[in-house]
Symmetry: C2
């Protein structure tokens, strides 16, 4: 490569259930490879990474940057939580570097905070998506805004003047999954039809009408409506999802009025469910693509590494 070419980078989003690696030149993705998550490795993280990188080494990457559970205690190397408030510069300062057969890999730290309920809270991976969302939506960089990141552990995040000020986690996706698979409420099996929108709407309307404080009591309707009303199982799964997502959004509704439109960052299908629930709780939202946000966030962080490198050189 001649010196004027944009530099080659390898970016990775390495969570519990999935590794996604990108080979980039400047802002273009040249190639993408998927591997196992930190929770389902069959070799060491280092070996898994090197195997997947393979012939990308020949492109001579200037920067390699990974975010997510790869930096947890059970990951490759622990990147200790950085405290909030934290912006891109503060997070860049706490990147942890590890060598792997001559490659220098930088790992993004997670964040910790005292959340709005006064409890300890943590995130790992979402901080990178948030930085990306700010880069993709410059209007979020000034003033205070509320972001929602639906998922296994949904995060409600307050950003202030471009920094992550605080956040609150609700393990909604995980609660749904364990109740769906292991309780008598839905009794869903692996091959069952997916949750229906009709069921979701019914669950959402029940929790909206009766109030999120009655979630434990409304949960049982997931079963009793099957027994008594003949609700089909796929509707019952949607009902359970509507109750849980509805309760999550209702609990966060105190922020809507103060912080305006909620920026939803996640997978499109889940974003759509949260958009409904936020609306039912009196709020409004707009969507940011989660995969694009990860790449934009890694890009923000990598530019600071590259700057450092130039300074040192």
């Amino acid at each position: 490569m001649v010196a004027s070419d944009p530099s080659i980078t390898i970016f990775g989003d390495w969570g519990t259930s999935r590794l996604r690696l990108y080979l980039r030149q400047g802002k273009s993705v040249l190639d993408r490879r998927d591997g196992p998550g930190i929770g389902s490795l069959t070799a060491s993280p280092e070996q898994t990474f090197l195997d997947l990188v393979g012939d990308w080494r020949e492109a001579d990457p200037e920067t390699i940057l990974l975010c997510g559970m790869v930096g947890s205690r059970n990951g490759w190397v622990e990147a200790p939580y950085a405290p909030c408030p934290a912006d891109a510069a503060a997070i860049s300062e706490r990147l942890v570097k590890v060598e792997a057969q001559g490659l220098t890999v930088s790992i993004v730290p997670g964040l910790s905070c005292v959340n709005p309920l006064g409890g300890p809270d943590v995130m790992r991976g979402e901080e990178t998506q948030i930085l990306g969302a700010l880069a993709l939506n410059p209007e979020l960089k000034a003033g205070r805004h509320l972001l929602a990141m639906p998922g296994t552990h949904t995060k409600w995040v307050v950003v202030e003047d471009g920094a992550i000020a605080s956040f609150l986690t609700a393990p909604v996706g995980e609660t749904f999954a364990v109740l769906r698979e292991h309780s008598i409420l839905a009794k869903a099996a692996a091959g069952d039809a997916p949750a229906t929108p009709e069921g979701f709407d019914l669950g959402l309307s029940r929790i909206t009408d009766k109030g999120a404080a009655l979630l434990p009591h409304l949960l049982f309707e997931t079963r009793s409506r099957q027994l008594i009303d003949g609700l089909p199982k796929a509707d019952a799964m949607g009902f359970l999802s509507g109750l849980l997502i509805g309760a999550d959004a209702a609990g966060a509704a105190g922020w809507f009025g103060q912080l305006g439109k909620v920026a939803l960052i996640g997978a499109p299908a889940l974003n759509a469910l949260y958009a409904k629930a936020i609306k039912a709780a009196g709020g409004d939202s707009f969507e940011i693509d989660g995969d694009a946000a990860v790449l934009a966030g890694l890009s923000s962080l990598s530019s600071s590494i590259t700057r450092d490198a130039h300074v040192l050189a």
Copy 2:
């Protein structure tokens, strides 16, 4: 036996996880035998029952009465739900009889209602305990009272003038169990120390201070307090239990003022946790032993069978 001896009865409490049979003469328990629940049978319900009864047949039981999941669709024979309001007479009229090698076995029906939230609700087994609680506590027979039956599926029950008027189910025990065993929140293994009272008190105080509507958000503290504050796992399990039981009691608190002291019917250890949670939510409670209530309830129902038999003879 001479005719003046009190009659011999076999009573059974046959739930999902346990069968408990009693051989009685009048009000005395002569013998007790335990067998597998409806959820873990290795033979047919009939065969399981006959094997356990064994030589009790020689005592020539006049009445055999079983309550619980034995009467569900997946039990021995379905005893369809009786609608609320229902008193002992109404439930007796709907006993379902089945023959087993010359023995006549009566099975108690469950109850259905439209619960106070307007949803369909069901119980099976608890109706017998409630009738027993009324028999053991005559002061509950006049006027309206609130009963709480903590368990896998906690029931909040309104009785009015000796009849079960309506009830509301919260699957608190089941939610605790699946989150404890299958989620990342507590990550408890079978051999782990049991949940601690200190953890329970902390969880209860968190949900009481912040409100039951924030249950989904407080759930994550079960994990984050371990990660950040070093909360021991046994305390984390107690914390999770305190959150869930606290949210259940807080949701039912609207009834406390109207209906006075809550009668708690269940296992002593669980009753004690609910007593704390009811107190934290502004109520007061007293305790009725659950096993004694089942026997008293079966006794109430069996006297009506015996009367019928006399009428027919």
